[in-house]
Symmetry: C2
Subunit: 339 residues, 2 copies
C-alpha cells in the first residue's frame, strides 16, 4: 500500500465507519417522513452543497416522476415563481459548518412560511442546526459522506413510497464504500501528482462533465480550483461543449473530461473523440476504470460521484496545493467580510 | 445620428418590419394551438437557441404554474427521465439555418413518438422546416427577432389560456421595438468600442448574469466570445459568483456584469457592490440605463434580453472583431466536420 500525500488512512476509514453508523438514525428519519403526504421534494443547496445534492436529485428523477426541485439558496431567496414550495413539500438541505449565510436565510424563509426543513449538519448547535426540524449530524467535509447520507435518506424514502426496491441491498453494500474509495485513491495517486505537476499553472483549465457527474464537475472547478486554489476554470457540460467552448481547444488549454456511467456517457464520448484530434492537453477521468469490490454493478451510477470526488476533490486537489504552494484553506474574500 | 460599425440602419429597420409582420401568422398558429389540451410545454434548443428560449421559459413560469420544460437538444436525445414529453406536450423549437444537427435529431425523435413539433426557422425547405408540423418562417439571425417571435407565440397562447391579460397592448407596442433597439445601439456604440479596445486580448473574461438575462449571459460568453472570437470566458450566475469565482477577482481578470430588472437584480447588485472594492477591471451592463419610448415599463422584463442582445451580441461583438482581427464568421471546428 502506497503512502498518500496529506492523507491519514486510519482516520479516513474510521470517519467512514462513523458516517455509516448514522444509517440507523437516517432510516428512522426516513421512515417517519415517508408517512407524510408530500407533493414534491425541494432540495436547497448553494455552492458545494448544491453540487452534492445535484446527483441525488438527478437519480431520484430516474426512479419516479415525483417532482424533485433542486434550488440554489441564493436564488430561492429572491425567486417569485416558487409556488411549488409549500407545507406539502419535503424540504431538505445541508451545511457542514451550519452557518452558510444563504442556507440559513433560506431555511428561515421556509420556517416563516410554516414549512419544516430537515437536513444534515456537523453541528446541531449551529444556526442551521437550530432551525432544522430534525437534523442528521455527521461531518460533510468529505463529499462522499454527503452523498452516502443524502442517498440513504432519499432512497429509503423512495423504497417506502414504492419507487425503489433495492435500498436494503445497496445500504448493506455501502459498508464496503470507504475501503473501495481508499483503494481508488491509491490507484489514482501517481496520476494525480503527474496531472497537477503538468497543469497547475495553466492560465485556464476547461472542465467538462454531464448528468450524474455535473455536480462534481462544478465542485472541482468552482470549489477546489477557483475558490481554494485561485486557478481559473471554465466548467461546461458535454452537450454545451460543442456550442462554443470547442473553438477554444488547442494545446495551450488543458481540458479535463469527467466521464460517467449514466445515459449522458454518449455525450462525454463525443467530447472524448474530439479532443485527441485537436489538442495534446487533455485528461479523461472515467469512473469505469475503477472497479468496486463487494458493491454490485447496478449501484455504480449512484456511486459514480463518490469515485470522482475521491479522485479530484481529494487527491488532485491535494497535489495542486503541493505545486501551486497555495494553501487549500486560504481565502482572500470568501467569508472574510460582508458582501 | 452616429454611424455604427458594420451596421445598416435601413436594413435593420426593414428587417424589424418583416419580423413584426409575422404577427398575424404567429397569432393564427397560437390561436389554433390554444385549443388543444396540453399538459405541459417543452421547448427544445441548443447553444444559441437554448439561450434564446431561456427567458421565454423563465417569464412563462412567472405567469403560471403550468409546467414549462426547457431542454438541451443534445441531452434530450440521451435522457431517460423524459416521461413528461408526450403527445400531450406542446413542443416548440427553432433553428435559423434549419439544419442544426441535434435539433433535427430531437424533432425526429419526437415525431417517431407521435409528438408534433412547432417552431421557427428561416427556411421552410430545410431539414427542420420539413419535420415541423407547422413553422413560422422569419430570420432568427438577430436574437431580438427570436425573442419577439417566441414571446408573440407563447404570450398569445397564455392570454388564450387565461394566464396573461396584456398580450394585445404588448404586441401593439412591439411595433416600436426596433427603433428603440436601434437607439440603444447608437447610445452604446462609443462604449462598445472603448470596452472592446480595453479588454479584447484579456486571457480570460468573467461574465456574470442572472434570471431573465442568464440566456444572454451565456450567449455573449459562448456564442460570441468563445465560438466566434476564440476569446476565453467564464460565465457564471450572480448567485454562484460568491461560491468560487469571486476568489479569482483581481485587476487582471475583466468581469462583465449583466444587470437585469427582474427579481434576481438583488443578486446582481451584490456582485456590483463587491467588484469595485477588489478590481478596476469590470463593466456593468444595466438594462435600466436604456429607456424605451412607446413601450410601457411593465414590459421591460420581457424586453430586457432584447436590450442586452443589442448591446453585446451586436455592438460589442462587432468591436471585438475589429480589435481581434478575427472574423466573427470564421470557425475552425464547429460544423466543419463530424464529431
Amino acid at each position: 500500500m502506497s503512502v498518500m500525500k496529506d492523507f491519514d488512512v486510519k482516520e479516513y476509514l474510521q470517519n467512514g465507519k462513523e458516517i455509516y453508523s448514522q444509517r440507523e438514525n437516517i432510516e428512522k428519519l426516513a421512515d417517519k417522513l415517508s408517512k407524510n403526504e408530500y407533493q414534491n421534494i425541494v432540495m436547497i443547496g448553494i455552492g458545494g452543497t448544491w453540487m452534492e445534492w445535484y446527483p441525488v436529485a438527478e437519480y431520484l428523477r430516474h426512479l419516479s416522476d415525483f417532482p424533485v426541485y433542486l434550488e440554489n439558496a441564493g436564488e430561492l431567496l429572491v425567486k417569485k415563481d416558487l409556488n411549488y414550495l409549500t407545507n406539502k413539500s419535503l424540504v431538505l438541505t445541508s451545511s457542514d459548518s451550519g452557518d452558510t449565510k444563504e442556507i440559513v436565510a433560506a431555511v428561515k424563509y421556509c420556517n416563516q412560511k410554516g414549512i419544516e426543513v430537515y437536513g444534515f449538519t456537523k453541528n446541531p448547535e449551529s444556526a442551521l442546526g437550530k432551525l432544522l426540524k430534525e437534523s442528521i449530524n455527521g461531518s460533510l467535509a468529505e463529499c462522499e459522506n454527503a452523498y452516502l447520507m443524502y442517498f440513504m435518506l432519499t432512497l429509503r424514502i423512495y423504497q417506502n413510497w414504492g419507487y425503489y426496491k433495492d435500498y436494503g441491498r445497496w445500504a448493506d453494500q455501502m459498508k464496503q464504500l470507504y475501503p473501495n474509495l481508499l483503494r481508488f485513491r491509491e490507484e489514482f495517486e501517481p496520476r494525480a501528482q503527474s496531472i497537477a505537476r503538468k497543469y497547475y499553472n495553466s492560465p485556464l483549465t476547461m472542465i467538462v462533465g454531464s448528468g450524474m457527474l455535473w455536480g462534481e464537475t462544478c465542485m472541482f472547478s468552482m470549489c477546489i480550483l477557483e475558490e481554494m486554489q485561485w486557478v481559473r476554470t471554465r466548467p461546461v457540460t458535454s452537450a454545451d461543449f460543442f456550442h462554443g467552448p470547442l473553438e477554444l481547444v488547442d494545446d495551450t488549454l488543458p481540458v479535463y473530461l469527467i466521464k460517467g456511467e449514466d445515459e449522458y456517457r454518449a455525450l462525454d464520448e463525443r467530447v472524448e473523440r474530439f479532443l485527441p484530434k485537436h489538442t495534446n492537453s487533455f485528461e479523461v477521468f472515467d469512473t469505469k476504470d475503477f472497479v468496486f469490490e463487494g458493491i454490485d454493478d447496478d449501484f455504480r451510477q449512484i456511486c459514480s460521484p463518490m469515485i470522482i470526488t475521491s479522485l479530484l476533490t481529494d487527491r488532485l486537489a491535494s497535489w495542486y496545493q503541493q505545486y501551486t504552494g497555495h494553501d487549500l484553506n486560504f481565502r482572500r474574500y470568501y467569508r472574510q467580510f460582508d458582501y
